[in-house]
Homo-oligomer: 363 residues x 2
């Protein structure tokens, strides 16, 4: 495949940029996978060829993310949004309370769904501060079934830097927008979940990592497809999984490994984000960030152009210059650059340069 492929500067919040190498490999083998005379999409999910793809993806996820043996890894459908419902259905057991830490719109939505299953509260919220920060402490109740956090707030651009202590109460994290962007001590969590479409692959696959003891004490009287145990007991092959998405996720994992694993990926992500935050911080207030400094996300950089009219102009000129996805979420406006794993350093450098040039021209 040609290496002169035209590539946009893709800062989409999700679905988002995928590694060019992964796309080129998928392209090369799209019609004939491993000499089978079939596309990977045409394989039976019960065939040895597909099961190898599937199991390799799970094994690589376990290895690269250092998932301990007492955790199950499953692939689900329905996006992180369906997890908002499945988590309380499975883990909000009789007489217990679900405890949500609100740090943005996604945590609000997660809480809303929990209320269908039982008692669910927002023990802490940074809403009054316009979700500009991550709380320094959480309040854990004795009777809590779990504490739920959003590790990275895609819309507001904040991110937990250290995870809260919840004692015996399982900590559950929606890592949709920062999963595998850095090493994480999985043993601190009861469960981690994420839609694949930001750091791990195309949309249509959701990853969940669940500590085994949570599964043992989970609610059992649930519809088959809404019970985690169905996926665990059948290695995520109870029904037809999204086979192409799992294949792509597996290829992205191999790419992460080729980058040097999560230590190196984390370093790259820090350097990438610094390029853009520096352009903001050195702008003398021409640009300003939404998040407080200690809570800044390395994945979603949210900022404003101080002059509202110029902000429109900025987004317009950026688009014309080949930058994609820089408008803030429709619920908050402003600007947002999502710099997930697969967004190359050059794209971040180009954006920083563009920001500086725009400032020089217009201020």
């Amino acid at each position: 495949m040609s290496t002169t492929t035209k590539r946009a500067y893709n800062f989409n919040a999700g679905p988002s940029a995928l590694p060019l190498e992964v796309l080129q490999k998928a392209q090369a083998e799209l019609v004939d996978f491993q000499g089978t005379g079939m596309s990977v999409m045409e394989l039976s999910h019960r065939s040895a060829t597909f099961e190898a793809v599937h199991n390799e993806a799970i094994a690589n996820l376990r290895k690269l993310f250092a998932v301990p043996d007492n955790y199950e890894i499953v692939f689900l459908q329905g996006g992180a949004s369906l997890q908002f419902s499945m988590i309380p259905m499975n883990f909000l057991t009789e007489g217990k309370r679900a405890n949500y830490v609100l740090t943005g719109s996604w945590s609000e939505k997660a809480l809303k769904e929990a209320k269908f299953s039982g008692e669910a509260v927002a023990s802490v919220s940074t809403k009054e501060n316009k979700y500009k920060n991550i709380p320094t402490e959480v309040e854990v109740g004795e009777n809590d079934a779990y504490v739920h956090i959003t590790s990275n707030n895609t819309i507001y651009g904040t991110q937990w830097k250290t995870f809260p202590e919840t004692g015996n109460v399982p900590l559950i994290a929606d890592m949709s927008s920062d999963i595998m962007s850095k090493p994480v001590d999985i043993s601190k969590f009861g469960m981690i979940y994420a839609g694949a479409q930001k750091n791990l692959g195309p949309s249509g696959v959701t990853v969940a990592i669940i500590r085994k003891d949570l599964l043992e004490s989970a609610n059992t009287n649930l519809p088959t497809m809404l019970k985690y145990d169905t996926f665990v007991a059948n290695n995520s092959l109870y029904n037809t999984p999204p086979t192409f998405g799992i294949y792509m996720l597996g290829e992205v994992l191999k790419w992460i490994e080729a980058q040097g694993g999560l230590e190196q990926v984390a370093k790259n992500n820090e350097a990438k984000a610094a390029l853009i935050y520096d352009a903001i911080d050195n702008s003398n207030g021409f640009y300003y960030g939404h998040a407080e400094e200690g809570s800044r996300s390395l994945m979603n950089i949210t900022f404003r152009v101080a002059d509202e009219e110029l902000e429109k102009q900025f987004l317009k000129e950026a688009e014309e210059a080949g930058f994609v996805g820089l408008s803030g979420h429709r619920s908050v406006g402003g600007c947002r650059a999502s710099t997930y794993n697969a967004v190359p350093t050059e794209a971040c450098q180009a954006l920083a340069d563009f920001m500086k040039a725009f400032q020089a021209k217009h201020q």
Copy 2:
């Protein structure tokens, strides 16, 4: 792209064969979609480019399948299996009974899930006849919320030829394994649903076609992602949809149109199935079919080699000869050839020839 691509004779039951032309088009534009400098997988689901893909797929489905205006078309995740749960959650309203017609394993599973939501019964079943036939009549109760059928029984190889009359009670059909294999009078149904992975595309997308009045009287107090209205009200874009799967489904629909639409596709499917059924019927009992003649599926041809030892040999030699997916479902054994839309006539001819040659050699 080369037209000499090696192609297996793919008789998989699902995921299954896709049209070569569709795969080749997807391959050609996989890295750079419409000059955007992005893969279709890297587009935001809220971008104009993706929304055009999405809306074109819905519009083409409506046109080709002749879906009347009083029906909504939505794309879901979770496979047909999740629909087994969502249907009763949404449509088995207070005080009503769900009525299931059992014609195979999939209808049994659908019934099992309905029981989580309320009263659900098997009014008719052909299990005693080993699911070799489709019933000639159904029993509709006054108090039925709906009648559920499986239009094509993927495992047993039977298919409804005319659909039952259910009067004012909505008829709901799982068409996973024969959707858009022929024209259907949609107005007879309250709802039709299908996983895409047999006739419509890769796995990971589920299509539902729902009559509007069903939505109006549906249960409302449901988790957001399990309520059809969420998908209807947001044009299937409430959360991130499986974008690549929807794109592929759209391409398959264009291919169906290029074949001459469903009238022509139905003729092709009849001719394809006849090649294989003839090989069975003209074998003097060397092969025999599972389904009774009037109930035979044009999509899944289930048969046995009368001599059990020879059956093993048949499956082994077929595999060596490049035929894929001919083993019957693990729950019933035997042989099965799935001849969905995208399976070419030549593959069916090759299988019929192989069956005759095998018989000549071994009997």
